[in-house]
């Protein structure tokens, strides 16, 4: 029972990774927008980089999910 409870707490703690992913995605889109407002002609060219950054930042949050799943199901 105690191990079960500790697993639940650990899995919950692993979801804190989402905070970092949220900050990262916010910074990426915010900086892209402010850059695009200053120089709209360069915005279109940097759009693939925006998506790349978004995918890379989003994945860090999902690493937290993987940690949670490992805690819940692998031990």
């Amino acid at each position: 029972m105690e191990l079960e409870a500790a697993k639940m707490i650990g899995a919950g703690l692993a979801s804190i990774a989402l905070a970092g992913a949220g900050v990262g995605i916010g910074i990426i889109f915010g900086n892209y927008l402010s850059g695009a407002m200053r120089n709209p002609s360069a915005a279109q060219k940097q759009f693939p980089n925006l998506l790349l950054g978004f995918a890379l930042a989003e994945a860090t949050g999902l690493f937290g999910l993987v940690v949670a799943l490992i805690i819940l199901f692998a031990f």
Binding site: L51, L52, A55, E58, A59, F63, V66
Partner: protein, 244 residues
């Protein structure tokens, strides 16, 4: 009524059981969908290049677009010295993309939602890139762990960090694709379960939400294939053009 959102990832055997020594080589639903995506790619490319019109038909346009997209990506990230690796990157991108996209169809199986599939791809890339680097630069390839313009005092620390980051490449590359696919499909299933449990009265809200989520998931399916291919290009760039 309870729905297990993990049930969709179950691998089961189709047809007879084939054992080669201690290794189970049976044909599973995972293999079936790998074959399906490969056949879809072959079919698309075959139809797209059969009649080479000056004004392309729709299917020829798709084929040309995917070719140009990958060729441009390789040129932008790894330079012209990576041109010989175009077939590999193109195959990799199309395979991951079609596995992801076929996984978006209802009742189908997502091949890339299993870590073993993505890790096999990532390990192949990692080992291949390391071999290419050593063939091209010999023992000087180890300079990759030695960034230029670092004070001597910091060197031991930096080298250790660089080696760890190099060795964690296959893990991060595979876990990124796997976690995105698995999390997305689990989330879709959970929201689908909300629709059922809230019933006819309250189920409309999660239903509309899950329609939006499917749009996001299609975007993510494309994006992750793109990221997988572009990171392969970046690793190739490290191996081919040492310190530029």
């Amino acid at each position: 009524m309870t729905i297990n959102p993990m049930h969709q990832f179950e691998v089961y055997r189709i047809g007879p059981e084939i054992n080669l020594g201690a290794v189970n080589l049976s044909f599973t639903n995972s293999s079936l969908f790998m074959v399906a995506s490969s056949i879809t790619i072959l079919f698309l490319l075959f139809l797209g290049t059969k009649k080479k019109l000056l004004i392309p038909s729709k299917i020829q346009l798709i084929t040309e677009m995917s070719y140009i997209f990958i060729a441009k990506m390789i040129n932008d990230t790894a330079g012209s010295s990576a041109k010989p690796f175009f077939p590999f990157i193109f195959t990799l991108f199309m395979f991951v993309l079609f596995c992801n996209m076929i996984g978006m169809l209802p009742y189908s199986f997502t091949v890339t939602s299993h870590i073993i599939v993505t890790f096999a791809l990532a390990a192949l890339i990692f080992i291949g890139v390391t071999i290419i680097g050593f063939i091209k630069h010999g023992i000087k390839y180890l300079e990759l762990f030695l960034p230029k313009g670092i004070p001597i005092v910091l060197l031991p620390l930096i080298v250790v960090i660089e080696i760890i980051s190099y060795l964690s490449r296959p893990v991060s590359l595979s876990v990124r694709l796997f976690a995105n696919m698995m999390a997305g499909h689990t989330m879709l299933k959970v929201f689908g379960g909300f629709v059922i449990s809230l019933g006819l009265l309250g189920g409309w809200l999660p239903l509309s939400f899950s329609v939006a989520l499917i749009g996001l998931e299609i975007l993510v399916a494309f994006l992750q294939a793109y990221v997988f291919a572009i990171l392969t290009c970046i690793y190739l760039n490290d191996a081919l053009n040492l310190h530029h």
